[in-house]
């Protein structure tokens, strides 16, 4: 690519790119995000290239690897243009048929279409699939249309036009006014208005200022930022350059996890391309504005997602937070005014500049504007990345977009905001999702993790799991966080092992208060959320564990036992053979009995017992019935008895 010297030059180049593209030329696109990669998209890609060659379509059909489409449950996803036929769970062996039937004959391969599990109806286009139909994909949408390694693709969809507009038609103050007017709140978790942060950094005294992209996404199960960085890195760069111009910064950093190899690769390529095209470097687009970006690879500490820890890590020190105030806006990286925003926040900027604050504020609720990308995972049919307007209800996300709970199970709770978020029960499913409403019910927006839990989830165990995560991931510097989490984790572990005592719940609440009030950074201040929210909504489960030594969801190993019902056991030998510790006694025509001493409660017998017998029972909070006497164990089969 050549250097672009003016907005007119940019527009000319875009038209040039488009004129060389034939909209009616068949093009097969394949989702190549990390999730699809794990489902084998590379092999599918190789098959596509081979098959196009083999069937003599070279030059007649385009092939494009795109960023993540979000419907990760059904990956790899292939979409064939111009008809936009969408095939799910595509395997290499499907490619020959797709090529001959769809690319050549323009016919649909029925078996690869989406089938609605409720109605049995098939959907030919992505937009007909309920998962996509109920989303509003402003930021994440372009992912599926572009090859993240191609700046031409980004330019073709209007890329860097917002930058040209900001540099040539707006003053830095006007850019900040637009972002403030849009009321864009930080997507990294705290929801602080981005425009106010920018203004503070702009007004802070000092020549040298820095802007930073925070891509240290560490919540278990969350990968929104990763997919944006992998799938559309130029949108993040464009946002960052606009922010730098507004704030008056000439140096930027992208802090990205080393364990996101594809994001690291694609961002690296994008920076080089942007430099070649003159979107980065000196005299950007001929405007006289200079700006450079360096990528910093983080070593994967959760706490480095906290902005002051991130700064310490960038400075080459241990990733531990510093006190605020002073805020990074006045004293940040190397004590210079610094503005840090999360990936998704930056990616919203080009959109706001292009469409204007008024359009942006037409989406969302009173206090939270625009859309939010969530990582919808756990016990939900359609797992994946979803982008929805602020103000949608949790119920719509879980049931309309997510397709409900698998296996006919009952919904129990949804955990939002990652390890320091909260668990929201059924009674609050109709709240409108925004920063303030989630806080009202004891959860947080966080960066957008959303874990759905069904009736088989133990809420004490959930709290214990998240506290164990935080016990590892706290930096360990301050007492309330380190020692508070240590003690809370001990109490939760005791409760889940049946060693809970009267007063434990009250002590957890007291510890939570201290940890929340006195910790140095947001990690500690939010660490008690999983404990407090589960106590608030599921106190009865805590009490069952403590008082009755019973786990109502049959999860906590120390509190459950497996038992074979002698009346229904058919002595089929399946569980007996599968038991990994040979804890099941029995034989042919001999009713099976579990030796409770040997049993490790792995649950294998429960899973393998044929449903028509259903002889293996899980029990909790009651004694295991004594084994039936050996002489009564023989089964006399009716057919053979005659």
């Amino acid at each position: 690519m050549r250097r672009i010297n003016s907005p007119a030059d940019l527009e000319g180049l875009r038209k040039d790119i488009l004129s060389k593209r034939n909209r009616n030329k068949p093009c097969i696109t394949l989702c190549s995000g990390t999730a699809c990669h794990a489902s084998g998209s590379e092999k599918v890609a190789a098959a596509i290239e081979q098959e196009i060659e083999k069937q003599g379509l070279k030059g007649e059909v385009d092939f494009r690897r795109t960023g993540c489409h979000g419907f990760c449950e059904k990956g790899p996803i292939a979409v064939i243009y111009p008809e936009e036929i969408c095939y799910l769970q595509v395997m290499p062996e499907d490619i020959s048929e797709i090529t001959s039937r769809t690319l050549k004959e323009k016919k649909v391969v029925d078996r690869l279409l989406y089938v609605d599990p409720n109605t049995g109806e098939k959907a030919t286009h992505e937009s007909d699939i309920p998962f996509y139909k109920n989303q509003e994909r402003l930021v994440f949408g372009p992912n599926r249309r572009i090859d993240p390694k191609s700046i031409e693709d980004y330019l073709a969809i209007g890329g860097y036009q917002a930058l040209a507009k900001a540099l040539f038609e707006m003053t830095p103050e006007q850019v900040i006014r637009e972002v403030k007017g849009a009321n864009l709140r930080g997507r990294g978790g705290a929801g602080f208005p981005a425009g106010m942060k920018w203004e503070a950094a702009r007004n802070a005294p000092g020549e040298t200022k820095y802007v930073i992209v925070n891509c240290d996404e560490g919540d278990p199960g969350a990968y929104m930022d990763r997919s944006l960085m992998e799938g559309n890195p130029h949108s993040v760069l464009e946002g960052l350059i606009i922010g730098a111009y507004a704030i008056g910064s000439h140096e930027g950093y992208i802090y990205v996890r080393q364990e996101y190899p594809l994001a690291v690769e694609n961002v690296g390529i994008a920076i080089k391309q942007a430099e070649q095209c003159g979107f980065l470097g000196e005299n950007i687009l001929g405007s006289g504005f200079d700006f450079t970006i360096q990528m910093h690879r983080g070593a994967g500490a959760f706490v480095c997602g906290e902005e002051t820890s991130l700064l310490m890590s960038l400075e080459g020190k241990a990733g531990e937070p510093r006190a605020r105030p002073p805020y990074p806006a006045t004293k940040g990286l190397w004590d210079k005014p610094t503005n840090i925003n999360n990936v998704e926040t930056w990616a919203n900027i080009p959109f706001i500049i292009n469409k204007g604050a008024d359009f942006f504020t037409s989406i969302g609720t009173e206090g939270s504007k625009g859309t939010k990308i969530f990582s919808l995972v756990g016990k939900v049919n359609n797992t994946g990345l979803v982008e929805v307007p602020m103000g949608i209800t949790l119920r719509d996300i879980i049931y309309k977009v997510g397709g409900g709970i698998p296996g006919g199970k009952k919904f129990k709770a949804v955990q939002t905001g990652g390890p320091s978020g909260g668990c929201i029960p059924e009674e609050h499913l109709d709240i409108e999702v925004d920063f303030d409403e989630l806080a009202q019910v004891g959860a947080i927006m966080g960066s957008g993790g959303m874990i759905v839990m069904d009736e088989d989830t133990c809420m004490v165990d959930v709290a214990r799991y998240f506290l164990a995560f935080l016990a590892d991931e706290s930096c360990g510097k301050c007492v309330p966080c380190r020692e508070g989490i240590r003690q809370m984790l001990k109490i939760l572990t005791n409760i889940s092992e049946g060693k809970g005592k009267e007063g434990d719940i009250e002590l957890l609440v007291e510890l939570s208060e201290t940890t929340r009030n006195a910790s140095l950074c947001a990690l500690g201040k939010t660490a008690p959320n999983p404990v407090l929210s589960t106590i608030r909504y599921f106190r009865d489960e805590y009490e069952a564990h403590i008082k009755e030594k019973r786990c109502p969801a049959y999860v906590c190993k120390e509190l459950i036992s497996y038992y074979i019902d002698p009346d229904t056991c058919q002595a089929c030998m399946i569980c007996l053979r599968k038991c990994p510790v040979e804890a099941i006694v029995g034989g042919k025509n001999q009713i099976h009995v579990i030796d409770q001493e040997k049993c490790i409660k792995c649950g294998t017998c429960f899973e393998v017992c044929p449903p028509r017998f259903g002889a293996v029972k899980k029990i909790s909070g009651e004694p295991v019935p004594p084994p039936i006497p050996e002489e009564a164990r023989t089964i006399i089969r009716k057919s053979k008895a005659k």
Partner: protein, 204 residues
């Protein structure tokens, strides 16, 4: 340097810009307890025993006074129900490590902290970092540092440096708020098994 007037415990206090609340309070003889603070060292904010209540922009917050810069018209309360409750819990959490430490016991008496609230932890160290920071900032030797993070965080002497520097210094011992025991123990442990000189230290 411009003067800043703030209120600490209903007393008007004049402070210089850039001072912390702790410094401002001490300058007029108002006592705030500290454990990880040392005049010669940069403020650290780890023990949180210096937590006070501040009222700013109509909101009340608990903050660490050793790090919080003074602001014009800030209202500070060094004792309140919330402050005392927080300090009590922080002490109880630390007493699980060092139940017999005199400094902690004095504070425990003041705030009614129960040293048996939590099960005894194996290490005396409350990770105030005085030894680590003194060695780095004053002695410039970096013979002792932190290892690991989260609940596994601990102090550790670097045998290669400690074997040369520590035996004639030991100045960090007397700084230790939990009675020098932990530092002495960790140092002995580090020096007991120095790596053989022929074996180079692996590079990162």
């Amino acid at each position: 340097m411009s003067k800043i007037i703030l209120q600490i415990d209903e007393k008007k206090v004049e402070a210089r810009e850039g001072m912390t609340i702790l410094e401002a309070a001490h300058s007029v003889g108002i006592f705030i307890p500290t454990l990880c603070h040392h005049e010669k060292l940069e403020p650290y904010g780890a023990c949180r025993i210096c937590t006070v209540e501040v009222e700013t922009h109509g909101r009340t917050n608990l903050i660490a006074s050793c790090l919080y810069p003074v602001e014009q018209d800030l209202v500070v309360r060094t004792r309140s129900e919330k402050v005392d409750k927080t300090r009590k819990m922080i002490l109880e959490l630390m007493l699980a490590h060092a139940p017999d430490d005199p400094a902690l016991q004095d504070l425990a008496k003041e705030y009614g902290a129960d040293k048996n609230r939590f099960e005894k932890e194996p290490s005396f160290c409350i990770l105030c970092g005085l030894c680590v920071r003194y060695c780095a900032e004053v002695k410039k030797k970096n013979a002792v540092g932190f290892v690991n993070r989260g609940i596994r965080r601990e102090i550790s002497f670097i045998p290669e440096i400690a074997s040369k520097e520590c035996l004639n210094c030991k100045e960090c011992f007397s700084l230790c708020p939990t009675g020098a025991l932990q530092a002495a123990f960790v140092l002995t442990e580090a020096l007991a098994f120095p790596p053989p000189p022929s074996e180079p230290v692996p590079d990162e």
